[in-house]
Protein backbone atom coordinates (compact mmCIF):
# COMPACT_ATOMS: atom_id res chain seq x y z
CA UNK A 1 0.00 0.00 0.00
CA UNK A 2 1.42 3.36 -0.90
CA UNK A 3 0.59 6.98 -0.42
CA UNK A 4 -1.43 8.80 -3.03
CA UNK A 5 -1.03 12.46 -3.84
CA UNK A 6 -4.25 14.45 -3.62
CA UNK A 7 -5.18 18.11 -3.56
CA UNK A 8 -7.58 19.37 -0.94
CA UNK A 9 -9.17 22.80 -0.96
CA UNK A 10 -8.98 23.82 2.67
CA UNK A 11 -10.10 27.26 3.83
CA UNK A 12 -9.89 28.44 0.21
CA UNK A 13 -6.28 27.33 -0.15
CA UNK A 14 -5.22 24.36 -2.26
CA UNK A 15 -3.14 21.92 -0.22
CA UNK A 16 -1.19 19.09 -1.77
CA UNK A 17 -0.81 16.14 0.54
CA UNK A 18 0.24 12.52 0.29
CA UNK A 19 -2.23 10.25 2.04
CA UNK A 20 -2.93 6.56 2.60
CA UNK A 21 -6.37 5.40 1.39
CA UNK A 22 -7.32 4.69 5.01
CA UNK A 23 -6.46 8.18 6.29
CA UNK A 24 -9.50 10.10 7.43
CA UNK A 25 -9.89 13.78 6.65
CA UNK A 26 -9.38 14.51 10.35
CA UNK A 27 -6.04 12.68 10.46
CA UNK A 28 -4.83 14.57 7.41
CA UNK A 29 -5.95 17.92 8.80
CA UNK A 30 -4.31 17.39 12.17
CA UNK A 31 -1.23 15.32 11.37
CA UNK A 32 -0.25 16.45 7.88
CA UNK A 33 -1.48 20.03 7.69
CA UNK A 34 -1.12 21.05 11.37
CA UNK A 35 -4.70 22.30 11.45
CA UNK A 36 -5.25 21.04 14.98
CA UNK A 37 -8.40 23.07 15.62
CA UNK A 38 -10.63 20.14 14.73
CA UNK A 39 -10.45 17.63 17.57
CA UNK A 40 -10.71 13.89 17.70
CA UNK A 41 -12.74 12.74 20.66
CA UNK A 42 -14.86 9.62 20.10
CA UNK A 43 -13.56 8.89 16.61
CA UNK A 44 -16.80 7.17 15.64
CA UNK A 45 -19.10 10.00 14.68
CA UNK A 46 -20.97 10.45 17.93
CA UNK A 47 -19.53 13.49 19.69
CA UNK A 48 -19.15 16.07 16.92
CA UNK A 49 -15.86 17.63 18.02
CA UNK A 50 -14.32 16.92 14.59
CA UNK A 51 -17.08 18.71 12.63
CA UNK A 52 -15.87 20.59 9.53
CA UNK A 53 -17.70 21.97 6.50
CA UNK A 54 -17.64 20.21 3.15
CA UNK A 55 -19.25 22.40 0.52
CA UNK A 56 -20.81 24.48 3.32
CA UNK A 57 -22.46 21.50 4.98
CA UNK A 58 -21.32 20.24 8.39
CA UNK A 59 -19.85 16.73 8.30
CA UNK A 60 -17.79 14.53 10.59
CA UNK A 61 -14.12 14.67 9.60
CA UNK A 62 -13.47 11.42 11.50
CA UNK A 63 -15.94 9.54 9.29
CA UNK A 64 -14.85 11.09 5.99
CA UNK A 65 -11.95 9.61 4.08
CA UNK A 66 -9.41 12.16 2.89
CA UNK A 67 -9.81 10.62 -0.57
CA UNK A 68 -13.52 11.38 -0.47
CA UNK A 69 -12.87 15.03 0.32
CA UNK A 70 -11.08 15.80 -2.95
CA UNK A 71 -12.95 18.18 -5.20
CA UNK A 72 -14.91 19.74 -2.34
CA UNK A 73 -14.44 22.98 -0.45
CA UNK A 74 -13.43 22.27 3.12
CA UNK A 75 -13.66 24.81 5.88
CA UNK A 76 -12.22 24.15 9.30
CA UNK A 77 -12.53 26.16 12.49
CA UNK A 78 -9.29 27.97 11.50
CA UNK A 79 -11.17 29.39 8.52
CA UNK A 80 -13.82 31.18 10.60
CA UNK A 81 -11.73 34.17 11.70
CA UNK A 82 -10.35 36.67 9.24
CA UNK A 83 -6.74 36.95 10.46
CA UNK A 84 -6.96 38.16 14.07
CA UNK A 85 -10.47 39.39 13.46
CA UNK A 86 -12.84 36.89 15.11
CA UNK A 87 -16.17 36.16 13.45
CA UNK A 88 -19.37 37.34 15.18
CA UNK A 89 -20.04 33.77 16.22
CA UNK A 90 -16.62 33.28 17.81
CA UNK A 91 -16.84 36.64 19.62
CA UNK A 92 -20.31 35.73 20.83
CA UNK A 93 -19.00 32.44 22.30
CA UNK A 94 -16.42 34.43 24.28
CA UNK A 95 -18.86 37.13 25.40
CA UNK A 96 -21.45 34.59 26.58
CA UNK A 97 -18.97 32.36 28.37
CA UNK A 98 -19.88 29.48 26.08
CA UNK A 99 -16.43 27.93 26.29
CA UNK A 100 -15.56 25.76 29.28
CA UNK A 101 -12.87 23.16 28.66
CA UNK A 102 -13.08 24.07 24.97
CA UNK A 103 -12.74 20.61 23.48
CA UNK A 104 -16.22 20.57 21.90
CA UNK A 105 -16.00 24.24 20.88
CA UNK A 106 -14.53 23.82 17.35
CA UNK A 107 -17.31 21.37 16.50
CA UNK A 108 -19.98 23.55 18.07
CA UNK A 109 -18.70 26.55 16.11
CA UNK A 110 -18.76 24.70 12.80
CA UNK A 111 -22.26 23.27 13.33
CA UNK A 112 -23.51 26.70 14.43
CA UNK A 113 -21.77 28.47 11.56
CA UNK A 114 -23.50 26.22 9.03
CA UNK A 115 -26.83 27.00 10.68
CA UNK A 116 -26.22 30.76 10.72
CA UNK A 117 -25.25 30.75 7.03
CA UNK A 118 -28.66 29.34 6.24
CA UNK A 119 -30.67 31.11 8.90
CA UNK A 120 -29.03 34.24 10.41
CA UNK A 121 -31.70 34.64 13.11
CA UNK A 122 -32.58 31.17 14.38
CA UNK A 123 -34.89 30.61 17.33
CA UNK A 124 -33.82 28.53 20.30
CA UNK A 125 -35.39 25.30 19.06
CA UNK A 126 -33.67 25.57 15.68
CA UNK A 127 -30.31 26.15 17.40
CA UNK A 128 -30.81 23.14 19.64
CA UNK A 129 -31.75 20.97 16.66
CA UNK A 130 -28.69 22.11 14.70
CA UNK A 131 -26.38 21.40 17.64
CA UNK A 132 -28.05 18.09 18.54
CA UNK A 133 -25.15 16.17 17.03
CA UNK A 134 -22.53 17.89 19.20
CA UNK A 135 -21.87 16.74 22.71
CA UNK A 136 -20.45 18.94 25.50
CA UNK A 137 -19.46 17.06 28.64
CA UNK A 138 -18.90 20.21 30.72
CA UNK A 139 -22.75 20.41 30.83
CA UNK A 140 -22.96 23.91 29.41
CA UNK A 141 -25.45 23.82 26.56
CA UNK A 142 -27.48 26.84 27.75
CA UNK A 143 -24.65 29.32 27.22
CA UNK A 144 -23.75 27.81 23.85
CA UNK A 145 -27.33 28.01 22.59
CA UNK A 146 -27.53 31.61 23.79
CA UNK A 147 -24.23 32.49 22.13
CA UNK A 148 -25.38 31.10 18.78
CA UNK A 149 -28.78 32.79 18.98
CA UNK A 150 -27.22 36.17 19.80
CA UNK A 151 -24.31 35.99 17.33
CA UNK A 152 -24.47 39.05 15.07
CA UNK A 153 -27.91 39.60 16.54
CA UNK A 154 -27.37 41.23 19.97
CA UNK A 155 -30.34 41.23 22.33
CA UNK A 156 -31.19 44.19 24.59
CA UNK A 157 -32.21 41.95 27.48
CA UNK A 158 -28.97 39.98 27.46
CA UNK A 159 -26.25 41.32 29.80
CA UNK A 160 -23.57 39.35 27.95
CA UNK A 161 -24.40 41.05 24.66
CA UNK A 162 -24.16 44.47 26.32
CA UNK A 163 -20.65 43.92 27.69
CA UNK A 164 -19.45 43.70 24.12
CA UNK A 165 -20.17 47.34 23.41
Amino acid sequence: MEKIEITLNINDKPCEVRVFPNDTLLEVLRDELDLTGSKESCGEGVCGSCTVHMDEKPVRACLTLAMEATGTRIKTVEGLANGDDLSDLQQSFIDHGAVQCGFCTPGMLMSADALLNENPKPDEKTVRMALAGNICRCTGYAKIVEAVGHAGNPQDHCPDCKTKE
Binding site: M1, I4, F20, P21, N22, D23, T24, E27, G43, E44, G45, V46, G48, T51, M54, K57, P58, V59, R60, C62, L63, T64, L65, M67, E68, S111, A114, M129, A130, A132, G133, N134, I135
Partner: protein, 337 residues
Amino acid sequence: MRLPRFDYLEPENLKGALDLLSTHRDDAKILAGGTDLLVRMKKGLLKPKVLISLKALNELSYINEKNGYIKIGARTPIADIVASGLIKEEAHALFQACEKIGAVTIQHYRGTIGGNILQDNRCHHYNQSEFHRSGHQPCHKDGGKICYAREEADRCNSTCQSDGATALMALDAKITLSKINGERTVDLADFYTTDGIMPFAMESHELLKEIIIPVQIAESAYQRLAYRSAIDYPIVCAGVLLKRSDTQKNEIDDARIVVGAMGRSPLFLAQASFSLKGKKLNDTNAFKKAADASMDNASTFAVHNVGSTLEYRCAMVSQMVFQALKEAAQAAVAAKG
Protein backbone atom coordinates in the same frame (compact mmCIF):
# COMPACT_ATOMS: atom_id res chain seq x y z
CA MET B 1 -8.93 5.45 16.01
CA ARG B 2 -7.19 4.27 12.85
CA LEU B 3 -8.98 2.54 10.05
CA PRO B 4 -7.62 -0.83 8.93
CA ARG B 5 -5.82 -0.79 5.57
CA PHE B 6 -7.69 -1.18 2.29
CA ASP B 7 -7.50 -0.21 -1.35
CA TYR B 8 -9.71 2.67 -2.41
CA LEU B 9 -11.39 2.51 -5.79
CA GLU B 10 -13.48 5.25 -7.34
CA PRO B 11 -15.48 4.03 -10.34
CA GLU B 12 -16.87 6.71 -12.65
CA ASN B 13 -20.27 5.19 -13.31
CA LEU B 14 -22.65 2.46 -12.22
CA LYS B 15 -21.28 -0.03 -14.74
CA GLY B 16 -17.76 0.54 -13.46
CA ALA B 17 -18.90 0.02 -9.88
CA LEU B 18 -20.71 -3.23 -10.76
CA ASP B 19 -17.66 -4.46 -12.68
CA LEU B 20 -15.42 -3.86 -9.68
CA LEU B 21 -17.95 -5.42 -7.34
CA SER B 22 -18.19 -8.59 -9.43
CA THR B 23 -14.39 -8.82 -9.51
CA HIS B 24 -13.80 -8.37 -5.79
CA ARG B 25 -17.09 -9.77 -4.40
CA ASP B 26 -16.68 -10.61 -0.70
CA ASP B 27 -13.40 -8.69 -0.45
CA ALA B 28 -15.12 -5.43 -1.33
CA LYS B 29 -17.54 -3.13 0.44
CA ILE B 30 -19.47 -0.26 -1.06
CA LEU B 31 -18.71 3.13 0.47
CA ALA B 32 -21.54 5.64 0.14
CA GLY B 33 -21.71 8.03 3.10
CA GLY B 34 -19.55 5.88 5.34
CA THR B 35 -21.32 6.90 8.56
CA ASP B 36 -22.07 3.26 9.41
CA LEU B 37 -19.39 1.39 7.43
CA LEU B 38 -16.37 3.36 8.66
CA VAL B 39 -17.49 3.07 12.29
CA ARG B 40 -17.68 -0.71 11.97
CA MET B 41 -14.29 -0.79 10.27
CA LYS B 42 -12.75 1.32 13.01
CA LYS B 43 -14.03 -1.14 15.58
CA GLY B 44 -12.52 -4.03 13.68
CA LEU B 45 -15.90 -5.61 12.95
CA LEU B 46 -15.21 -5.50 9.25
CA LYS B 47 -11.95 -5.68 7.32
CA PRO B 48 -12.67 -5.34 3.60
CA LYS B 49 -9.64 -5.43 1.28
CA VAL B 50 -11.25 -2.97 -1.11
CA LEU B 51 -13.63 -0.05 -0.70
CA ILE B 52 -15.60 0.93 -3.79
CA SER B 53 -16.61 4.56 -3.43
CA LEU B 54 -19.85 5.84 -4.93
CA LYS B 55 -18.53 9.40 -4.81
CA ALA B 56 -18.69 9.94 -8.57
CA LEU B 57 -22.02 8.17 -9.06
CA ASN B 58 -24.33 11.19 -9.11
CA GLU B 59 -26.61 9.09 -11.32
CA LEU B 60 -27.73 7.29 -8.13
CA SER B 61 -28.83 10.47 -6.39
CA TYR B 62 -32.35 11.51 -7.34
CA ILE B 63 -35.98 11.66 -6.20
CA ASN B 64 -38.72 11.62 -8.81
CA GLU B 65 -42.30 10.54 -9.43
CA LYS B 66 -43.39 8.65 -12.50
CA ASN B 67 -46.49 6.57 -13.29
CA GLY B 68 -47.66 6.43 -9.69
CA TYR B 69 -44.29 5.46 -8.21
CA ILE B 70 -41.79 7.55 -6.30
CA LYS B 71 -38.27 6.50 -7.17
CA ILE B 72 -35.33 7.34 -4.95
CA GLY B 73 -31.73 6.67 -5.93
CA ALA B 74 -29.89 4.66 -3.29
CA ARG B 75 -27.14 7.26 -2.94
CA THR B 76 -29.56 10.14 -2.24
CA PRO B 77 -28.41 11.91 0.94
CA ILE B 78 -30.80 11.91 3.90
CA ALA B 79 -30.86 15.73 3.77
CA ASP B 80 -32.30 15.67 0.23
CA ILE B 81 -35.13 13.37 1.33
CA VAL B 82 -35.95 15.56 4.32
CA ALA B 83 -35.99 18.62 2.05
CA SER B 84 -38.18 17.00 -0.61
CA GLY B 85 -41.76 18.27 -0.76
CA LEU B 86 -42.78 15.17 -2.70
CA ILE B 87 -41.64 12.80 0.06
CA LYS B 88 -43.21 14.93 2.78
CA GLU B 89 -46.50 14.93 0.91
CA GLU B 90 -46.71 11.39 -0.48
CA ALA B 91 -44.53 9.34 1.86
CA HIS B 92 -44.84 11.15 5.15
CA ALA B 93 -43.57 8.25 7.27
CA LEU B 94 -40.29 8.24 5.35
CA PHE B 95 -39.95 11.99 5.84
CA GLN B 96 -40.50 11.60 9.59
CA ALA B 97 -38.06 8.70 9.80
CA CYS B 98 -35.31 10.45 7.85
CA GLU B 99 -35.69 13.57 9.93
CA LYS B 100 -34.90 11.50 13.01
CA ILE B 101 -31.96 9.51 11.67
CA GLY B 102 -28.91 10.23 13.81
CA ALA B 103 -28.14 13.92 13.93
CA VAL B 104 -28.09 16.51 11.15
CA THR B 105 -24.34 16.96 11.28
CA ILE B 106 -23.55 13.24 11.28
CA GLN B 107 -25.77 11.58 8.72
CA HIS B 108 -27.85 14.07 6.86
CA TYR B 109 -25.34 15.36 4.32
CA ARG B 110 -23.01 12.35 4.01
CA GLY B 111 -25.35 9.50 4.96
CA THR B 112 -27.57 8.03 2.26
CA ILE B 113 -30.94 6.30 2.23
CA GLY B 114 -29.37 3.18 0.72
CA GLY B 115 -26.83 3.11 3.51
CA ASN B 116 -29.59 3.48 6.07
CA ILE B 117 -31.44 0.44 4.71
CA LEU B 118 -28.23 -1.57 4.54
CA GLN B 119 -26.89 -0.53 7.96
CA ASP B 120 -25.83 -3.71 9.67
CA ASN B 121 -27.83 -5.21 12.52
CA ARG B 122 -26.66 -4.18 15.95
CA CYS B 123 -26.30 -5.72 19.37
CA HIS B 124 -24.64 -4.17 22.40
CA HIS B 125 -22.52 -7.27 22.89
CA TYR B 126 -21.23 -7.09 19.32
CA ASN B 127 -20.89 -3.38 18.50
CA GLN B 128 -17.97 -2.85 20.85
CA SER B 129 -14.30 -2.07 20.47
CA GLU B 130 -11.84 -4.79 19.51
CA PHE B 131 -10.39 -4.59 23.02
CA HIS B 132 -13.76 -5.13 24.69
CA ARG B 133 -14.55 -8.09 22.47
CA SER B 134 -11.13 -9.64 23.03
CA GLY B 135 -12.14 -10.21 26.66
CA HIS B 136 -14.50 -13.07 25.87
CA GLN B 137 -15.34 -15.73 23.31
CA PRO B 138 -16.61 -14.38 19.98
CA CYS B 139 -20.37 -14.36 19.48
CA HIS B 140 -22.21 -15.76 16.43
CA LYS B 141 -21.95 -12.50 14.48
CA ASP B 142 -18.26 -12.27 15.30
CA GLY B 143 -17.61 -15.77 13.94
CA GLY B 144 -18.07 -17.73 17.16
CA LYS B 145 -20.72 -20.01 18.63
CA ILE B 146 -22.11 -18.07 21.59
CA CYS B 147 -24.92 -15.56 21.95
CA TYR B 148 -24.56 -13.17 24.86
CA ALA B 149 -27.98 -11.58 24.30
CA ARG B 150 -30.00 -14.76 24.78
CA GLU B 151 -28.67 -17.73 26.70
CA GLU B 152 -28.11 -20.90 24.69
CA ALA B 153 -29.35 -19.29 21.49
CA ASP B 154 -28.10 -21.27 18.51
CA ARG B 155 -28.06 -18.23 16.25
CA CYS B 156 -27.46 -14.52 16.18
CA ASN B 157 -30.11 -12.28 17.74
CA SER B 158 -28.85 -8.91 16.50
CA THR B 159 -31.44 -6.20 15.94
CA CYS B 160 -32.21 -4.14 12.84
CA GLN B 161 -32.33 -0.52 14.04
CA SER B 162 -32.83 1.21 10.70
CA ASP B 163 -35.36 4.06 10.80
CA GLY B 164 -35.59 4.26 7.02
CA ALA B 165 -36.26 0.56 6.45
CA THR B 166 -39.10 0.51 9.00
CA ALA B 167 -40.84 3.46 7.37
CA LEU B 168 -40.26 2.13 3.86
CA MET B 169 -41.68 -1.28 4.73
CA ALA B 170 -44.80 0.41 6.10
CA LEU B 171 -45.07 2.27 2.78
CA ASP B 172 -44.88 -1.09 0.96
CA ALA B 173 -41.69 -0.09 -0.83
CA LYS B 174 -39.71 -2.20 -3.25
CA ILE B 175 -35.99 -2.06 -3.89
CA THR B 176 -33.96 -2.68 -7.02
CA LEU B 177 -30.69 -4.58 -6.77
CA SER B 178 -28.24 -4.33 -9.65
CA LYS B 179 -25.49 -6.65 -10.71
CA ILE B 180 -23.24 -6.83 -13.72
CA ASN B 181 -25.63 -8.75 -15.95
CA GLY B 182 -29.03 -7.63 -14.83
CA GLU B 183 -31.12 -6.37 -11.98
CA ARG B 184 -34.04 -7.52 -9.87
CA THR B 185 -36.75 -5.76 -7.92
CA VAL B 186 -37.97 -7.23 -4.63
CA ASP B 187 -40.43 -6.20 -1.96
CA LEU B 188 -38.51 -4.72 0.95
CA ALA B 189 -40.39 -7.17 3.18
CA ASP B 190 -38.85 -10.10 1.27
CA PHE B 191 -35.36 -8.63 1.35
CA TYR B 192 -34.51 -9.95 4.79
CA THR B 193 -33.17 -13.33 5.81
CA THR B 194 -33.96 -14.40 9.37
CA ASP B 195 -30.26 -14.59 10.04
CA GLY B 196 -28.74 -11.91 12.27
CA ILE B 197 -25.24 -12.49 10.88
CA MET B 198 -26.15 -11.56 7.29
CA PRO B 199 -29.60 -9.98 7.55
CA PHE B 200 -30.01 -9.06 3.88
CA ALA B 201 -30.98 -11.44 1.11
CA MET B 202 -28.49 -10.08 -1.40
CA GLU B 203 -25.43 -11.44 -3.13
CA SER B 204 -21.97 -10.00 -2.54
CA HIS B 205 -21.84 -8.68 -6.11
CA GLU B 206 -25.20 -6.93 -5.95
CA LEU B 207 -25.63 -3.23 -5.36
CA LEU B 208 -28.72 -1.48 -4.02
CA LYS B 209 -29.68 0.90 -6.81
CA GLU B 210 -33.14 2.27 -6.26
CA ILE B 211 -36.03 2.43 -3.82
CA ILE B 212 -39.53 2.42 -5.27
CA ILE B 213 -42.53 3.62 -3.26
CA PRO B 214 -46.03 3.21 -4.69
CA VAL B 215 -48.08 6.40 -4.43
CA GLN B 216 -51.31 5.46 -2.68
CA ILE B 217 -54.30 7.40 -1.48
CA ALA B 218 -53.30 6.69 2.05
CA GLU B 219 -51.73 8.33 5.10
CA SER B 220 -48.61 7.15 6.83
CA ALA B 221 -46.87 8.01 10.08
CA TYR B 222 -43.70 7.05 11.91
CA GLN B 223 -42.92 7.11 15.62
CA ARG B 224 -39.66 6.27 17.33
CA LEU B 225 -38.33 6.01 20.85
CA ALA B 226 -34.67 6.59 21.64
CA TYR B 227 -32.71 7.62 24.73
CA ARG B 228 -31.69 10.88 23.15
CA SER B 229 -33.69 12.42 20.33
CA ALA B 230 -30.53 12.87 18.24
CA ILE B 231 -27.50 10.64 17.63
CA ASP B 232 -29.01 7.51 19.22
CA TYR B 233 -30.48 4.56 17.37
CA PRO B 234 -34.17 3.82 18.07
CA ILE B 235 -34.90 1.27 20.80
CA VAL B 236 -38.44 0.86 19.46
CA CYS B 237 -39.99 2.35 16.34
CA ALA B 238 -43.18 1.91 14.37
CA GLY B 239 -44.34 2.86 10.91
CA VAL B 240 -47.98 2.62 9.84
CA LEU B 241 -49.98 3.15 6.69
CA LEU B 242 -53.76 3.64 6.64
CA LYS B 243 -55.70 3.41 3.40
CA ARG B 244 -59.20 4.85 3.32
CA SER B 245 -62.05 2.98 1.71
CA ASP B 246 -63.25 4.42 -1.62
CA THR B 247 -66.93 4.07 -0.81
CA GLN B 248 -67.08 4.60 2.96
CA LYS B 249 -64.93 7.69 3.45
CA ASN B 250 -64.40 7.24 7.18
CA GLU B 251 -63.58 3.55 7.01
CA ILE B 252 -60.18 1.89 6.83
CA ASP B 253 -59.79 -0.25 3.75
CA ASP B 254 -56.31 -1.53 4.40
CA ALA B 255 -53.59 -1.00 7.00
CA ARG B 256 -49.91 -1.82 7.37
CA ILE B 257 -48.23 -1.88 10.76
CA VAL B 258 -44.45 -2.33 10.86
CA VAL B 259 -42.41 -2.41 14.06
CA GLY B 260 -38.67 -1.76 13.95
CA ALA B 261 -35.73 -2.22 16.33
CA MET B 262 -37.33 -5.33 17.83
CA GLY B 263 -36.25 -8.15 15.51
CA ARG B 264 -33.60 -9.12 13.01
CA SER B 265 -35.52 -7.10 10.43
CA PRO B 266 -38.39 -4.61 10.59
CA LEU B 267 -41.48 -6.69 11.43
CA PHE B 268 -44.60 -6.43 9.28
CA LEU B 269 -47.39 -7.49 11.63
CA ALA B 270 -50.07 -9.00 9.39
CA GLN B 271 -52.51 -9.99 12.12
CA ALA B 272 -52.57 -6.58 13.79
CA SER B 273 -52.77 -4.85 10.40
CA PHE B 274 -55.65 -7.02 9.26
CA SER B 275 -57.63 -6.36 12.43
CA LEU B 276 -58.06 -2.73 11.34
CA LYS B 277 -59.81 -3.59 8.10
CA GLY B 278 -63.30 -2.10 8.00
CA LYS B 279 -62.82 -0.14 11.23
CA LYS B 280 -63.73 3.53 11.48
CA LEU B 281 -61.00 6.19 11.30
CA ASN B 282 -61.99 7.52 14.72
CA ASP B 283 -62.22 4.11 16.40
CA THR B 284 -59.58 4.59 19.12
CA ASN B 285 -60.47 1.25 20.68
CA ALA B 286 -59.62 -0.62 17.51
CA PHE B 287 -56.28 1.21 17.37
CA LYS B 288 -55.60 0.26 20.98
CA LYS B 289 -56.38 -3.39 20.23
CA ALA B 290 -54.19 -3.41 17.12
CA ALA B 291 -51.37 -1.79 19.11
CA ASP B 292 -51.63 -4.43 21.84
CA ALA B 293 -51.65 -7.20 19.24
CA SER B 294 -48.53 -5.61 17.71
CA MET B 295 -46.87 -5.69 21.10
CA ASP B 296 -47.72 -9.38 21.58
CA ASN B 297 -46.49 -10.34 18.13
CA ALA B 298 -43.34 -8.22 18.11
CA SER B 299 -42.29 -9.21 21.63
CA THR B 300 -41.61 -12.80 20.61
CA PHE B 301 -38.73 -11.63 18.41
CA ALA B 302 -37.03 -9.26 20.81
CA VAL B 303 -34.03 -9.94 22.99
CA HIS B 304 -32.35 -7.71 25.52
CA ASN B 305 -29.58 -6.30 23.34
CA VAL B 306 -30.09 -2.65 22.43
CA GLY B 307 -29.95 -0.72 25.67
CA SER B 308 -33.13 -0.36 27.73
CA THR B 309 -34.77 -3.37 29.41
CA LEU B 310 -36.79 -5.79 27.34
CA GLU B 311 -39.95 -5.23 29.40
CA TYR B 312 -39.87 -1.49 28.75
CA ARG B 313 -39.21 -1.87 25.03
CA CYS B 314 -42.05 -4.38 24.64
CA ALA B 315 -44.46 -2.15 26.54
CA MET B 316 -43.49 0.79 24.38
CA VAL B 317 -44.22 -1.07 21.13
CA SER B 318 -47.89 -0.70 21.89
CA GLN B 319 -47.45 3.03 22.58
CA MET B 320 -45.46 3.72 19.43
CA VAL B 321 -47.94 1.83 17.21
CA PHE B 322 -50.92 3.50 18.87
CA GLN B 323 -49.49 7.00 18.47
CA ALA B 324 -48.53 6.36 14.86
CA LEU B 325 -52.01 5.01 14.07
CA LYS B 326 -53.66 7.98 15.72
CA GLU B 327 -51.46 10.38 13.80
CA ALA B 328 -52.13 8.68 10.46
CA ALA B 329 -55.88 8.56 11.14
CA GLN B 330 -55.92 12.27 11.99
CA ALA B 331 -54.08 13.02 8.76
CA ALA B 332 -56.57 10.87 6.83
CA VAL B 333 -59.53 12.72 8.36
CA ALA B 334 -57.91 16.06 7.58
CA ALA B 335 -57.11 15.00 4.01
CA LYS B 336 -60.74 14.08 3.48
CA GLY B 337 -61.48 17.75 4.04
